[in-house]
Amino acid sequence: MGSYWLPTSINGFLGDIKDASLLHFVLEGFLVAWLIWFIFRKSYKSHHRHSLSKEEEDKIISEWTPEPLVKSTPQDHPALKPHVVTGKAGHYIDVDGKPCLNLATHNYLSFVDKPQVEECAIQSIRKYGVGSCGPRGFYGTVDVHLELEEKLAKFMGMEEACVYAYGFSTVASAIPAYAKRNDIIFVDEQVNFAIQKGLDASRSRICYFKHNDVEDLEKLMLEFEAEAGKNPRKAKVTRRFLVIEGIYMNTGKICPLPALLELAHRFKCRTILDENVSFGTLGETGRGVTEFYNINRADVDLIVGSMEWALGSIGGFCVGSSFIVEHQRLSGLGYCFSASLPPLLTSAAMASLEEIEKNPELITVLHKQCQLVHDALANLSEFGYSMSGDIQSPVKHLYLTNPPQDAEKHRSLLHSISQYCIKNGVAIIPASYLDHMEARPRTPSLRITVNVDLTPAEVEAASKVLQQASSEFSLS
């Protein structure tokens, strides 16, 4: 064999080449030349894949109007006369040193000022200090976090839960952890702002269906199905999601969950259910909208809840199967990259949760109060208010029946009504929206929240104040 790597003689080398046909010569010569050309080319960056089309560019340019760095503020701007709230925002709230009945903050079960909960938080400070000093994956996990996750999972009867440090970032992180570019998300048009931010971050295609309108959703899904039929290979890698809220913060209405889930099942959608209001308030024992409709919770892929409203703490959580929830521990951005929930708030949430488990009657009482407030507000229709919100919902919206045409006037009228109410001992505020960032225009409204400690007399008084406001501002 001689030498394997090199020919033994020049003749041997030439022999190989001499045997080669002209075609070989030409091809190999061409390859070498091509390679050299390739190597000496200068590098360049190709155009970005997600560049805007001409129309999009024009649209953005035409929409842009330069703004002054600091706008001049009108002298009657509400921000110039802020209210000062002192003390706890419990059943009563001290606004400018005057106690008001609190119908403004979300404290459905009165856990914000419950002594047992406070005691737990204090104990926790003594043991752990005030902060957790790191994200969950980076020295920020304290035993109470694991305990709370276990408790939440057990309470909801799901495999696993993960706790976020902030209610807003929970759903805003959970959605983009699963839905990516090229996916499609069907979502109710009245979803809250946190969900909308999650949708933005997902980069998916968003399809809004009319509020609580199952038929409209079906129509959209059928349209998508028809589109998918034209390109089945693409459809095969397009994941579909359905994002809904248990009780809509923006309308106070309960979602028609059974019908929605049936559709999701039919069109193979993954479902994400945001229970920020409904957790701890709906259902016999406060387990949310799934309990309200008596639905098997495993039919919903991911349930997202808030611990900021009913539980009176801070933070949020996701519950679902381990397979689904575990994914967020590495791809939920709010989970990975925020410092974890302070142990004292974790303990407080745990104490509230235990309280709910121990006293499910609390929820029954809350339902009674919701009914009470519902009836009282429904009776205001002759005074120029119209109410939105289901009976069992602890969040109700009061709209004006004959609002001023001008949106700015509309808002300032609601603000004046709210000021009038506060002056008369009832804290009621308009729902505030970042109007220019909301997906759909929101009708300005007064948002009333129900508290478990309300008495019929208080509800009556609040209703009186609203009636007086009506005549004061001649609403009817």
Partner: protein, 152 residues
Amino acid sequence: MHVGGHGNANPNTTWLKSRGMWVSYILGMLILHLIILSVPLLSVAMAWTVTNLIHNLSHLIFLHSLKGAPWIPQDQGDCRSLTHWEQIDDGAQFTKTRKFLFAAPIVLFLLTCFYTKNDTSHFVVNLVSLVIVIVPKLPQLHEVRIFGINKY
């Protein structure tokens, strides 16, 4: 695995860049070739053709067929529709990494031609495999799916 440290949302864009990778690549090819060469049944020419085919097949699979990344990249699925070749250097053309990976199959092909003494049947097989891995590397075919192959 979750990635994204050091501000790099998708390591697939950079990990082939290092010179250490290139050395490992060349050493890997050499060891593969030596292993094949030590199989008694294979002639020298056959060993070279098999080496070339395995090399080109792995290019075809790992650089031009599989899309996305083996980890969870932080790009909200941007790379889901891209092959590894298209992700290299964030799609910049004629970069050093691309030149190296472009040169690899060509040099291997020339060597194979030499050691198979330009035998026609070997030549045809090797040429076809070369064309299959060179065509998708062309800058003109960046993010182009001919006949919709491997489009979604």
